[in-house]
């Protein structure tokens, strides 16, 4: 992951907050994660994402989407659905997903 932040988006847009605790099963996880990064970029209305994981702790990924249709298209992707099934079977102890409509945002950048 780079240290690029998603910023400067014009509201309204949506944040999909995915928080997770991983299992110790890493088999094919990194490869699948990279594939999902490629695949989501093809979704019309996908605006970007960020991901962070504290070693030994939780992971948080935030996906940014223009509208509900974009989120629905991403959820409906067959390859993504396979990955989600695999995630529940093997890679995640637990996770939560929170879909929020963003009406305001702001940022700071060192001058």
């Amino acid at each position: 992951m780079s240290d690029h932040l998603v910023s400067g988006l014009e509201p309204p847009y949506y944040t999909v907050v995915f928080t997770s605790v991983r299992t110790e099963d890493d088999h094919a996880y990194a490869r699948t994660a990279r594939r999902m990064e490629e695949l989501v970029r093809e979704v019309p209305g996908f605006l970007g994402y960020e991901s962070a994981r504290t070693p030994g702790g939780i992971g948080i990924t935030v996906g940014y989407f223009r509208d509900e249709e974009a989120i629905a298209a991403w959820r409906a992707s067959a390859e993504h659905q396979d990955a989600m099934r695999r995630g529940r079977a093997d890679w995640y102890e637990r996770y939560s997903v929170h879909v929020g409509r963003v009406e305001r945002s702001h940022g700071f950048e060192r001058g």
Copy 2:
């Protein structure tokens, strides 16, 4: 940080997504972060938070609030405002804040 995930909240509620890239200035950062964790718990309508940081990469903190009033109360805290000023002066290269109203959420927990 623990590996506790915020889950099971009844919509509507709000997510405040704070993404950041840190400077190398750690002076008083950890102490202030702990103090903010204490302080935010006193805000009526605060529902929880999660935080993750990839070593050398970005950090993501998600705060969960019942309503806009709770977010406004947290923003108005004098001690929090001091910490935000200090963050811009010393601790952050850049950050973004995205406030979203959550209408739906779901989760998974290994059986």
